[in-house]
Amino acid sequence: MSATNLLVLDGLLVISLVGLAWAALAGSDARRSVILFMAFGLVLAAAWVRLLAPDVALAEAAIGSGLAGALLLAAVQEQPRQPLAARTASNSNPNKPGLSVALQLAVSVLCAALAGTLAWALAHAFNSAPQNALPRAVSSNLEASGVSNPVTAVLLNFRAYDTLLELAVLLTAVLGIFALGPARPGYQAAGPVFDGLARWLVPVLILTAGYLLWVGAHAPGGAFQAGATLAAASVVLRLAGRHQIGLPQGRALRIVMAGGVGTFVLIGLGLLVTGRPFLGYPPAWAGGLILMIESAATLAIAATLVLAFLGGQPRPLAVRVTCGNTSATPGPTGKPASPEGMRGAELRAAEVCNRIPETQKRC
């Protein structure tokens, strides 16, 4: 009886997923599509759970519900909203209407071919005999891997090289984000309701990130989920209109970004020097090494996601105003402070202090 209940539940999930995906792509309003996509991510988290993939469900909950939605909404709301159909109609070249029709036809054929190939592969997989070799190999080697969660063991030990390359891809993505120019200006200071929510939400999110990093060794969790939750904490601060969102500045940011891949590579090379294969951990040390790599990766992933939300290179916080006496420390240029220069800096600092709304002055 409860099996049929679960079957109906799965059917409802499938119908919701397909309906949301169709509606998200079929509309012409960009903001409507983004909101539908966010709802799709939420239902997808439940679907991952039904597919017995709680690690992926954790990542989908952290990214799909919070970060992806916030990022897409910030991007969509940057410019005046235009229905997508109107914009493409005005951009299409009136002299060659045949070209755009041919392009649409080509894309449709390619998508149909891809969907057909995937469907054939899925049917083929269901018909052939179940393969148990991979799960058997993982579970027989689990004790030597240093962790007891098979997903973490595969990601950080048996297939560590793949994860290293994934972190390198994230680093390359940051280069692309930096190439976009300066970051978006940020949000106006939030009212007391959201500010009060942020005051307790951000510490809880940071604690949850640490918990997810720790628990990844023996339960679903890990570096990616922890990094996404940590990034969500910074995004909440940014949405509340704060200037200081916990992202490291300048050189510290570069160290954090490089530390994700760098820790991985250094540990691998260190193992090479001691005579073991690259990233072949000795079983006694494997747990500690994996935790070290995951901690560095958490910080790097969180910084990457926050930079993606900022949309560009973060502006340096040049003037630090201490409450009460408006003294300004010189900016990162490091020029020696002449008395006139210090007076000018104090005047500027006083202006900045008057401009910052009262809610943001922290003593």
């Binding site: 009212g191 309701v193 959201f194 929510l197 307790w200 939400l201 809880v204």
Partner: protein, 94 residues
């Protein structure tokens, strides 16, 4: 006995969820929908977590359930406030 009580709480929670969704569909105005949704969802999740907390035996699970309920309570209250303020701003703008 505990099972009966927790089952009743869970069913009541699901009932409130359904009531909230029906209110979302049937009520005429954004503000009334917002009102119905947040109250019904908070109460629905609260009863649900109360029933599940009675059903489970470990302290850690009960604390996690309490944290989840408090988080949803304050997050949905803040979201309702934000959405209502946004809608009011849109109205007075046009």
């Amino acid at each position: 006995m505990i099972d009966v009580l927790s089952g009743l709480l869970v069913l009541a929670g699901v009932g409130f969820y359904l009531a909230g969704s029906i209110g979302l569909l049937r009520l005429p105005d954004l503000y009334s929908r917002l009102h119905a949704l947040t109250k019904a969802d908070n109460l629905g999740l609260g009863l649900l977590t109360a029933g599940l907390a009675l059903h489970s035996q470990e302290l850690l699970t009960v604390l996690k359930l309490l944290l989840i309920w408090l988080a949803v309570l304050s997050a949905s209250a803040a979201s309702a406030h934000l959405i209502a303020r946004y809608a009011r701003r849109q109205e007075t703008k046009s």
